[in-house]
């Protein structure tokens, strides 16, 4: 078969019945790409000798270096059989787990799958995964059992052993399909409780399941791989041979004289040839006879290998390779082959073997004819599959609009003529080198073009001459009259500018990566220049139906979410990394579409009809789980990084990129290898800068709890005697600075620096349910806060709409329900603020008896609005609370679930006087006055008595003056309040913040860790290792159950985010890929250990030793965060004083 040319393929594309869209899927390293190579070689694109070594489909550099495929790529092949010409669009897919998203995209556009299994390794995790994917997409698989040469050369099996082995492999594969089938049947039964159609023929199903009801009634024989059905190829892609048993049947039916049909049924199975009776008998194994397959097929292959490879290796060692030549020649002659002397003289016997085998049993022939005969053409698309494509599982097909349902017919008919609607599905976008685009490729110029160019050159020359002439003329003119020359130049300059601009644009477009959409036509014919709708994945046809007029064409402009229009610019035939330009692509073909990068993000549907539903999202097996933070090496290159990440996101179906609140750019990938590829892509293609990646920052929260009753060894706290601790006295004194009084109950009292005001605050842990409520309703709180702010400013507040109001009401009600107990009485109405940022999960309660503060709930009923008024500096108190909740004392992380109660807030006379004087004028607000406690007086005898009295004297003087002249006075008194400690409002903020912090510290503090819920699918044998990894990373298993109908277990666990870096990879490694976790953020959880804990009781000493630095997880987290932030870490510079290196280097 010679090189297939483009015109030929374009012709073939039109014959839909003879198109096969297949993908090659398998576990990693089972020989997909090698198989693809042999198939490509059959089309003369690469040479036969290079097949298997070149790995044509691995066009990326890192694919070649690592030896694994990382992306799916398509190639169109031409095949001749039974006087029929077929076009085979073959997609090679990666086998590594990390790239299983690429497999999903490949499977979507295909009608059939070639499943490759390594005969030695058997069924591997990814084999199961790809079979499942093929199953989910309703595409039919065929099997290639690969690497049979390894059985001969590596394992040195006898033909009979090999036969048993092959049987085992086949059984394994069928077991997987069987379990997929059972789980589907069980699911269906559970879903609708309707037994599937009963069927008589249940030969094969009987032996696998005889236990569950309903299963045996369902026909599944067509699902299984059986050599006699012709859907199994045995072969060795590296040596270029492969066969179906049909081939041997043809060969032997004449030789042995047995009917072909009989032989076909008996060649594979427990049959043997009774030579005397010339009959095929059953029960080879029990009688110890060679099965037919061994006798007729395997022994021949074995003897060939024996002759060529094994023997010659032995002989090579004895330095005489002559004796064997005869035998080889005999075999070659009997097979009727002719081997080039070049190959037979080659020193490497594998080359020789290859030459014989590719002629005798070419694998491409075997595989491609199987594909053509056994796999469906695009015309055979089943109704079930169409429905699955058109609507998501959760939705019933009937629920789609009627016009959309009509389109189903178009799918089934698969017509390419003008009347059929065009429906194209884009399953991924991929970036190609601009050099790879046909338009940019240098190609031989046609005669016309050469003529054209010559014309252009001539013109340019003429222009140049003319310009020169003009300019010289101009110059002369300028000397004569200045004005005219100027004007002509004006015209010239912009044209030059334009040209420069064009050049820049061209350069840019050359540098920019081109995105090509990987797509398949499901109906109609797509042409260049056609206008089509682009339907995003979230598009809803019923919406369009409601909005659009009849006979809507893509030219009109109507705004509908997820719908846009585009003109098809370029269409390509995908030939590996080569692209061939085509004018139109009829139904059933795989193609590349250029110029859609602005319309399509990752996947989309193109159609002439806006009623077409978007295709269901891909069944992606692997969701991105490995998170890393990336940043540029040089901070100035940030914009390039952002641009690069956007491009990467478009080019890869399985990548998520986001910017976190901390400013980190986070890249989420499916696995470690995938991550490596993404980083390489960013570095070399998309961003073109140096990048470093690191573990992302993990957030924490700080909270307080009720005093625990037991200590770390579960002993009752009260009864324990504390052992004299060496360092206790140091701790106690360092906790609270001077001037802070803390009572035994945790009430903290603090003065402002100028001693004019006193604040008492107590901290309490909020009930867990309340914290959760606050978290969930942060939007409502924000709305309320907005309302309150505007009310406070005296402006007429905008009305909150009724639904929100209703929501707020229920929210309040729920809060009241959750605040149970005496101490929380009336707590809901006392709430004066939420924090941090005014909508967080912490509460400030107003516990002042004589301060009737307007409620935060004032939006609920309008009458209460006049009930109270804000006291002066109320804002400062709130701000202080906000600041305190924004960063806690443990490691400056936000607080959560803490309630601060403002129990006392006194202001001295001076302040009040001032406030009065300033309000006198306005005399508008009814000031709620507050008695001054004796506290204020007692303040003075605290510390620097002298200073204070001095200051106060000064103050009284100045604050009395304003009464005389009110206008001036206000300014003066303002000055009073801004004494040496800064403005009073600022002091109050700081004091409130400090008070909250100390109140927090007076209670038992705890860190809260963000938790992932983690769902792990694992087989029974790796369950133990999954548990080991989980417990090592402080995870906790919540539940574990077996998935019905399979042998998989589903484990649900929670895991701290801080421990999740590398978790997915570790679990995969430890279970050799049998289990893969999915991580989703779920909630915050209090870490039970106290970050400041040190052993104090006898038992604790016994248990943990003096330092106890191994057990305290919270302490570890606290220190890492503190270190990262440059906060103080209580850590010795050297651990043991005596163990230092004492000598300096030169002594």
């Amino acid at each position: 078969m010679g090189h297939t040319n483009l015109a030929n393929i374009v012709d073939l594309q039109k014959n839909t019945a003879n198109i096969r869209n297949i993908c090659i899927v398998a576990h990693v390293d089972h020989g997909k790409t090698t198989l693809a190579d042999s198939l490509i070689a059959s089309n003369g694109i690469i040479s036969n000798r290079l097949a298997g070594k070149l790995r044509y489909m691995d066009s990326r550099e890192d694919e070649q270096i690592r030896g694994i495929t990382m992306k799916s790529s398509s190639i169109s092949l031409h095949f001749n059989t039974d006087n029929q010409e077929y076009l085979i669009n073959m997609i090679d897919s990666p086998g590594h787990v990390d790239f299983s998203s690429e497999v999903s995209t490949a499977v979507r556009v295909c009608d059939g799958a070639v499943v490759v299994v390594d005969v030695v390794e058997g069924v591997c995790p990814q084999t199961q995964a790809v079979l499942r994917q093929a199953w989910l997409e309703n595409i039919s698989p065929v099997l290639v059992i690969n690497k049979i040469d390894r059985l001969i050369i590596e394992l040195k099996l006898t033909p009979f052993e090999a036969y048993i082995h092959l049987q085992k492999i086949l059984e394994q594969v069928n077991a997987v399909t069987g379990s997929l089938f059972t789980s589907k049947v069980l699911e269906e039964r559970a879903e609708m409780d309707v037994t599937p159609d009963p069927s008589s023929d249940s030969k094969t199903s009987g032996q696998i399941y005889d236990w569950s009801a309903g299963l045996e009634e369902t026909d599944d024989s067509h699902l299984y791989f059986a050599p006699e059905q012709g859907n199994v190829v045995f072969g060795s892609a590296i040596d270029g041979w492969g066969f179906r048993i049909e081939q041997f049947v043809q060969m032997y039916s004449e030789k042995v004289g047995i009917k072909a049909e009989v032989l076909l049924k008996t060649l594979w199975g427990d049959y043997y040839l009774n030579t005397k009776a010339k009959k095929i008998m059953k029960g080879a194994q029990s009688k110890g006879k060679k099965p037919l397959f061994v006798q007729l097929v395997l022994e021949n292959i074995w003897s060939l290998y024996e002759a060529v490879v094994v023997r010659s290796c032995q002989l090579l060692q004895q330095k005489s390779a002559l004796g064997d030549k005869e035998k080889i020649n005999k075999i070659v002659n009997s097979l009727g082959l002719s081997i080039l002397p070049r190959d037979s003289r080659h020193t490497d016997p594998r080359v020789h073997l290859n030459a014989i085998c590719t002629q005798w049993l070419p694998i491409s022939q075997a595989v491609l004819s199987m594909v053509c005969h056994k796999l469906p053409s695009p015309l055979d698309i089943t109704e079930e599959r169409v429905e699955k494509l058109m609507c998501v599982r959760s939705r019933r097909f009937d629920s789609l609009p009627a016009q959309t349902q009509v389109l189903k017919q178009a799918f089934l008919e698969c017509k390419s003529d003008e009347t059929a609607p065009v429906i194209v599905f884009i399953c991924k976008m991929f970036a190609v080198d601009p050099k790879g685009i046909p338009q940019n490729k240098p190609r031989p110029l046609t005669q016309e073009e050469i003529a054209q160019r010559r014309e252009q050159a001539r013109k340019r020359l003429a222009e140049k001459l003319a310009n020169q002439g003009q300019q010289s003329g101009e110059n002369a003119e300028i000397s004569a009259t200045n004005s005219r020359g100027g004007s002509t130049r004006d015209i010239q300059v912009p044209s030059q500018m334009e040209q420069a601009g064009l050049n820049v644009y061209q350069q840019e477009s050359e540098q920019r990566d081109h995105f090509i959409a990987f797509a398949r036509v499901y109906s109609g014919t797509i042409r260049r220049g056609q206008k089509l709708f682009v339907l995003g994945p979230k598009y809803d046809p019923s919406e369009a139906l409601a909005k659009l007029p009849e006979n809507y064409s893509p030219d009109d402009e109507v705004l509908i979410p997820h719908l846009s229009c585009c003109t098809v610019e370029d269409l390509y035939l995908l030939m590996g990394k080569e692209l061939e330009e085509v004018q139109e692509v009829p139904v059933g073909n795989v193609l590349g579409i250029g110029g859609l990068e602005d319309h399509v993000l990752k996947s989309a549907t193109l159609s002439t009809s806006p009623l077409c539903p978007p295709f269901t999202p891909l069944n992606v097996e692997a969701t991105p789980i490995v998170r890393v933070a990336v940043e540029p090496k040089h901070p100035s290159e940030m914009p390039q990084l952002v641009r690069g990440m956007k491009l990467l996101n478009q080019a890869d179906p399985c990548v998520e990129v986001l910017v976190q609140e901390t400013g980190e750019h986070v890249l989420i990938t499916a696995g470690e290898v995938h991550l490596q590829r993404c980083l390489d892509d960013l570095r070399e293609r998309f961003a073109k800068i140096e990048i470093s990646s690191s573990a992302p920052i993990v957030p924490f929260r700080e909270t307080i709890i009720r005093p625990p009753k037991v200590d770390m060894v579960n002993e009752d706290m009260g009864t324990q005697q504390k052992v004299a601790v060496i360092h206790q006295k140091k701790e106690d004194q360092s906790k609270y600075p001077e001037g802070v009084s803390v009572d035994s109950d945790g009430l903290v009292t603090l003065n402002t620096p100028n001693k004019l005001s006193t604040i008492s605050v107590r901290a309490m842990p909020l009930p867990e349910s309340v914290t959760q409520l606050l978290e969930e309703n942060s939007d409502l709180i924000r709305a309320m806060e907005l309302f309150n702010l505007s009310v406070k400013e005296g402006r007429e507040a905008q009305e909150i709409n009724l639904t929100t109001l209703e929501a707020i009401k229920t929210f309040k009600q729920k809060l009241e329900e959750n605040f149970v107990g005496r101490k929380w009485r009336n707590a809901v109405n006392q709430i004066s603020s939420f924090g941090p940022r005014r909508y967080g999960p912490n509460i400030l309660l107003n516990g002042l008896k004589n301060y009737d503060r307007p409620s935060v709930w004032q939006c609920l009923d309008k009458n209460s609005r006049d009930s109270g008024a804000y006291r002066d500096f109320d804002n400062s108190i709130i701000s202080g609370f906000q600041l305190a909740t924004l960063s806690g004392p443990i490691c400056e992380e936000p607080l959560m679930g803490v309630c601060f109660i403002l129990e006392k807030w006194d202001m001295s006379n001076k302040v009040r006087q001032f406030v009065q004087s300033s309000t006198e004028e306005q005399a508008s607000k009814p000031e709620v006055q507050q008695e001054i406690t004796a506290k204020e007086n007692s303040l003075t005898d605290l510390k620097p008595i002298l200073e204070i009295t001095k200051q106060q004297n000064g103050r009284t003087e100045s604050s009395q003056t304003p009464a005389k002249s009110s206008d001036d006075g206000k300014y003066n008194s303002e000055m009073v309040l801004t004494d040496c400690y800064g403005p009073f409002s600022g002091q109050l903020i700081a004091t409130m913040k400090e008070a909250c912090r100390f109140a927090f510290q007076a209670k038992p503090q705890r860190l809260m860790a963000a938790m992932y819920t983690c769902e792990i699918m694992a087989t029974a044998e790796v369950l133990g290792r999954v548990y080991a990894v989980l417990s090592k990373r402080a995870g906790r298993v919540l539940q574990e159950e077996m998935k019905e109908g399979t042998e998989m277990f589903i484990i649900k666990a929670v895991l701290p985010v801080a421990e999740s870096f590398g978790f997915a990879d570790e679990i995969r490694k430890r279970t050799s890929g049998q289990a893969s976790p999915q991580l989703v953020f779920s909630h915050w959880e209090v870490i039970p250990s106290d970050p400041y804990w040190v052993p104090t009781t006898e038992e604790e000493y016994l248990h943990f030793g003096e330092k106890a630095d191994t057990v305290n997880q919270a302490h570890k987290y606290m220190n890492t965060v503190r270190k990262r932030k440059g906060l103080y870490v209580e850590e010795k510079i050297v651990e043991h004083a005596e163990k230092q290196r004492t000598l300096s280097k030169n002594k």
Binding site: M645, Y971, K1132, T1142
Partner: protein
């Protein structure tokens, strides 16, 4: 008189001397290196890990022990351990290399954290990460000064970084209410101080919501106070204007 030879030469290894002058006398104690700072900030709690011996010397290197009466005269006690603790807490010592290194490193981090807290990327309105800022600080060869406050140094670093990368102080959002008669006059004066004017309303008052550089806050505050004699009000709406929440890049 002894001859100074390698054999009879006694070197004080692993010794850090803490000195103190009291009552006209010099007192010294012999401590381990790298331990005194840990003791002072509370990380080390075992006194025996800090002190080589509980003896108080007048000269450690010569091995001269302080007289008891001198000690009592200076410290009013003859408990050597108590005296050692006093000297440890208040005496002067030479900071050792590791201690200095640790301190500088901590300050470096602290500065970077402050910069991160105060600044944003003006394009995205999002903060930079600490790592990035640390790298940028190394790129501009910033060296930490131990005797300057970290906040002060952070401001200096921001100025330096502005030359090499896109970084700006995060804006502060203010609301100003100025009586109408002062409004026009003040507005001219405020203009150079305001970065972005978000909204401006002339009703009975001039109501302005604007973004400013936090460095100008005091200036604006003072300006408004003085010019309007306290009639105008100034309210901080947010201390730091940054984007909130995660954003998907698409």
């Amino acid at each position: 008189m002894s001859i100074f030879t390698p054999t009879n030469q006694i070197r004080l290894t692993n010794v850090a001397i803490v000195r103190m002058k009291r009552a006209g006398k010099r007192f010294e104690i012999a401590c381990y290196k790298n331990k005194v700072m840990s003791w002072r900030n509370g990380a080390e709690k075992d006194l025996d890990e800090v002190l080589q011996t509980h003896t108080v010397f007048t000269n450690v290197s010569k091995g001269q022990v302080a007289k008891k009466e001198d000690c009592v005269a200076a410290f009013q006690t003859d408990n050597l351990t108590d005296i050692c603790k006093q000297i440890l807490a208040k005496g002067e010592l030479q900071v050792s290399d590791k201690e200095r290194h640790a301190q500088l490193e901590q300050m470096f981090r602290d500065i970077a954290t402050i910069v991160v807290e105060k600044c944003v990327n003006p394009e995205t309105k999002r903060p930079y990460t600490v790592n990035l800022i640390e790298r940028a600080m190394k790129d501009v060869h910033y060296s930490v000064k131990a005797n300057k406050s970290t906040k002060q140094q952070a401001l200096e670093v921001i100025r330096l970084l502005k030359e090499s990368m896109q970084i700006e102080r995060a804006h502060m959002r203010l609301r100003l209410r100025i009586p109408i008669k002062d409004g026009k006059r003040l507005k001219e004066k405020l203009k150079p101080l305001i970065k972005v004017m978000e909204s401006e309303e002339f009703a009975e008052d001039l109501d302005v919501v604007c973004l400013i550089d936090p460095g100008c806050f005091r200036e604006i505050d003072e300006l408004i106070r003085h010019e309007t004699k306290g009639k105008a009000s100034l309210e901080v709406l947010s201390l730091k204007e940054v984007e909130e929440g995660d954003e998907k890049l698409e």
